[in-house]
């Protein structure tokens, strides 16, 4: 069982939201689509669900074209941003919805609802009104609702986007376990690289409607394809086609990197200082793990560990 997207294009008038995107999702694989807002990742997801008509390209499931298939016949589950729970139904009513549409009998509905609610850790929540749930609980209901009819593919559109950071970090771990337990293929859209790295079997970075890079998360992390991907992943020091990790610097009298500290930020176990290098050179972010950390205005001389310098490569590029 596999999803294939070939040369997908989605246009709104003159705007091309998705531009010739290829995507493959293998059985039980979780593919994360990572990119800044407006890069077309949500549109890609909606096109897979059948909610946006493609302007060109093919979407197939096990070789069968989904082009003429209406959203409600695609067997695709979707977790929406802000969840889109039905306000007029309680938790059980939301979760049972897809089962009712599939004509599952009442007893089986009950069993499946209980089962899925247990899976997401909401046993006994069936009769609660969705308006009374916390954000995290609503997220779980949305997930349970999408999973209940056993979709062949699960689409998740920034499902944790509206939650606070601590909850997000906890739920992302749970979500990964849940997806594995449910044994479902999934496409997960997010702008948060931490979420993407925590969840993905395979990563697709999008920029302006196109795929900027794809590959295993560790491959993308260790070898960003270009400056855009590097910066999007949080690497601040991109100089002359190379990424310099903030950890690569250490104080050394004879070092090559000389400059003045222009700012200092506390990061819990270390400081990050920004160093304006001499001769109008680039401003570099340096993880200062030594004591005492350099103060703002202080001149520093640093040596560079070659292991911390990564050339931007097209190795993992699409």
């Amino acid at each position: 069982m596999a999803l294939h997207v070939d040369g997908l294009v989605v246009r709104y008038g003159d705007v091309t939201a998705v531009d010739a995107v290829d995507l493959a999702v293998a059985d039980r694989e979780v593919v994360c689509v990572l990119g800044p807002s407006g890069c077309g990742k949500t549109t890609l997801l909606r096109a897979i669900a059948g909610l946006e008509p493609p302007s060109a390209g093919r979407i197939t499931w096990d070789g069968a074209d989904l082009g003429g298939v209406a959203p409600h016949r695609r067997g695709v589950g979707m977790v929406f941003q802000d969840f889109a729970l039905f306000p007029h139904r309680n938790v059980a009513g939301n979760v049972a919805f897809g089962l009712r549409m599939a004509g599952v009998d009442r007893a089986a509905q009950h069993r499946r609802v209980d089962e899925v609610l247990a899976l997401v850790g909401l046993d006994g929540y069936g009769s609660r009104a969705v308006a009374t749930l916390s954000g995290g609980e609503q997220q779980r209901v949305a997930l349970a609702r999408a999973l209940a009819p056993r979709p062949r593919l699960l689409l998740l559109d920034e499902p944790l986007g509206s939650l606070d950071r601590a909850l997000r970090q906890r739920l992302v771990v749970e979500l990964r376990e849940l997806l594995t337990a449910a044994g479902v293929s999934a496409v997960y859209v997010t702008h948060d690289q931490e979420e993407a790295f925590a969840l993905a079997d395979s990563l697709v970075v999008m920029r302006a409607g196109r795929v900027a890079q794809r590959g295993a998360p560790e491959a993308v992390w260790s070898r960003p394809a270009d400056e855009f991907v590097a910066r999007f992943l949080g690497f601040e020091n991109v100089v002359d086609g190379r990424v310099v990790r903030p950890d690569a610097f250490r104080p050394a009298a004879g070092g090559d990197v000389r400059g003045v500290v222009v700012s200092r930020t506390y990061r819990g176990d270390h400081f990050v200082v920004r160093v304006a290098t001499d001769g109008d050179g680039p401003v570099l972010a340096v993880a200062a793990r030594w004591t005492p950390p350099p103060a703002v205005g202080e001149r520093v001389t640093l040596a560079l560990d070659p292991a911390g310098v990564i050339p931007l490569g097209s190795a993992g590029r699409a």
């Binding site: 589950g77 007029h88 897809g98 609702r145």
Partner: protein, 534 residues
Amino acid sequence: MGSTGDRRRRAALVAAAGLVPAAFLAVFFVLPVGTIVGMGFHPGALVDVAGSARLRGIAWFTLWQAVVSTVLTFVVALPAAAIVARYEFPGRRLLRAAVTIPFVLPSVVVASAFEALGLSHGLVAILAAHVFFESAIVVRIVGGFWSNLDPRQEEAARLLGAGRLRAFLEVTLPRLAPALLSAAALVFLFTFSSFGIVLILGAPHYATLEVEIYRQTAQLLDLRVAAALTIVQMAAVLALLLVQRALSDRVSGEQRLRAGTDVARRPRTVRERAGVATVAGATALVLGGPLAVLVVRSFSPGGGVGLGYYRALSTSRRGSILFVPPWEAVANSLGFAVVATVVALAVGVPAAAVIARRRGGATRLFDSLLMLPLGTSAVTIGFGFLVALDERPLDLRGSPWLIPLAHALVAAPFVVRVLVPVLRSVDERLREAAATLGASPWRAWREIDLPIAARGALVAAGFAFAVSLGEFGATVFVARPDYPTLPVAIFRFLGQPGDLNAGQAAALSTILMAVTVGAVLAIDRFRAGELGEF
């Protein structure tokens, strides 16, 4: 959505849903009105009307009294809408229900109540009765919409440095604009087409186009001039509707429904409490006063206290203006109201679904067409029914079915008006979520839009029921003497001299009021009962 084939299927579905209201309109609106216009469209008639200074004066009066009535109505009703939407206070539910009552009362009752108050015939009486009548629309539409607005937006504006008034003007007012415009359009249309009030309280000096059409047809028997006036009236209404559509298009920011959450709070400061109490008290006095006078009158036979007028209702007196005991009018009215409500919903629900889903020019035209009966003179509709529905295959002449059909025609636009904003407020993503869970577009509508709209539909049904109970202008033409409705019976009694006739009119009015209040309270109970579990 998905493919062009699917889109075509959906378009077919929407078109099919539009067929019921379209067919209903064609048979029971276009045909009767077309017949009247055809009957009287002599080349000279329009010239005659345009050349008559008296008729030009009537047209001008119709226009400016509607403007003044609308402005005065907003002055009186906006504060009431504000407190009902924003504040929790003792008697709030009662007030919310009570403001609907004057609106659904028959105009003849309101007119007689204002006569009983001692207001002499003339402009002041007409305007006062209009404000009394139409305030309900403003409180219902604006208040209901207002209570769904998130008060935190206004709070955000306050924190950004806007004063109370500034925050209202810059944040709340623009968001209220669709409701304000929609309410203003309705109030204007109703007062523009005012019939019963002006007929009774304006006599003999003031007349609207409506009243003049009635006089020309019923008293002067000049169908040619009546038809010409009808054309003028309908042209004006059409123009108004086009203006209203253009306005509402410009402000059609979609409002999210905050399902089930009541944002009202208790007034906190002394000033707030005083303000709420003043507005609530003044509203109660303005709306309750005339009705209280009417009720007292009904229990005061011959100047004493007793049930004499009510007892008289069960007997068919010799020489009475009704052929049946007046009590039967109560049963007739209730039966007609049930049928009219069912028909109005059968027509209005699919129409609202079509209008809410599609925004093309054809839909807008359809929308305006559906609103037309609302602005068309009830007299025209009633008379049109009589002259058009008397041939095979639709020979309904003398059939009691004419009454609920006319009522449904008048009520259907209300149903549409109530439902469209509710249906539009349903988040598109809810439908998409339903689709990804296996619901076809039709199933998604049934599962998502319909239940969420159910509350709106209940309110719409209540309106249709109340409109039917109180409908007068069309009924007076199609009601047969052996099937009188309550308003017709009241009108007949009011037209006769003598204390007993006036007393019976007051008694019947009180009964009608009680039935209406009951219906409205029942609706409000449903509204307050939230959506519950399905």
